[in-house]
Symmetry: C2
Subunit: 110 residues, 2 copies
């Protein structure tokens, strides 16, 4: 978080996130589930960096992302973040279904 400006603005697939607290709350569950990352391509100039990477997460084995960040005085002040939400939603639904089945089985065994 040391490269993130206090007043960061991040346009993510689900909408805008503003400020470090909201950004941290948004990133934390992803980072906790992160198992690996590989850079696909990274380019930039004095104030912009554009990167594409693939990540391995607990719920989704391959979850590529792309990010276009604007840097000012050594800190990221803006991030346009792009990833496909579909596999994450599918994984969440699967977990919910699994939990419901477990609850159902537990109730039946009583």
């Amino acid at each position: 978080m040391s490269y993130i400006a206090e007043d960061i603005v991040c346009d993510a697939p689900a909408g805008r996130i503003e400020g470090t607290s909201a950004y941290r709350a948004f990133m934390e569950p992803f980072v906790q589930n992160l198992r690996g990352a590989a850079m696909i391509a990274a380019f930039g100039d004095d104030e912009t960096a554009l990167v594409m990477y693939d990540t391995t997460t607990v719920p989704v084995p391959s979850a590529p992302g792309a990010e276009c960040v604007t840097v000012k005085e050594g800190k990221i002040i803006y991030s346009r973040l792009l990833f496909d939400r579909t596999p994450f939603q599918a994984a969440r639904q699967m977990t919910a279904t699994h939990r419901a089945e477990e609850t159902h089985a537990a109730c039946q065994s009583q």
Copy 2:
């Protein structure tokens, strides 16, 4: 399609697409619904281009995408394509629901 190599390989959110015919079939519905596009950032070197752009489409007003393409002899031989499928799926579901409601209304009015 003149910049697309015959044996293009495109890794898209839903999986791999190989060859110009499959690539055209994949792109056609998107291009037909495309109403506008704006480049967010574009970088590259001799053989790689990394771009992020925003698009306006009929079903989804803002559908950003990112693409990392490999160029060989002036043609794109590989494309790693990234976009969020969620709003497109939501739009499709909405259309399906709307059609079902229309059918239902039409049946009731008979």
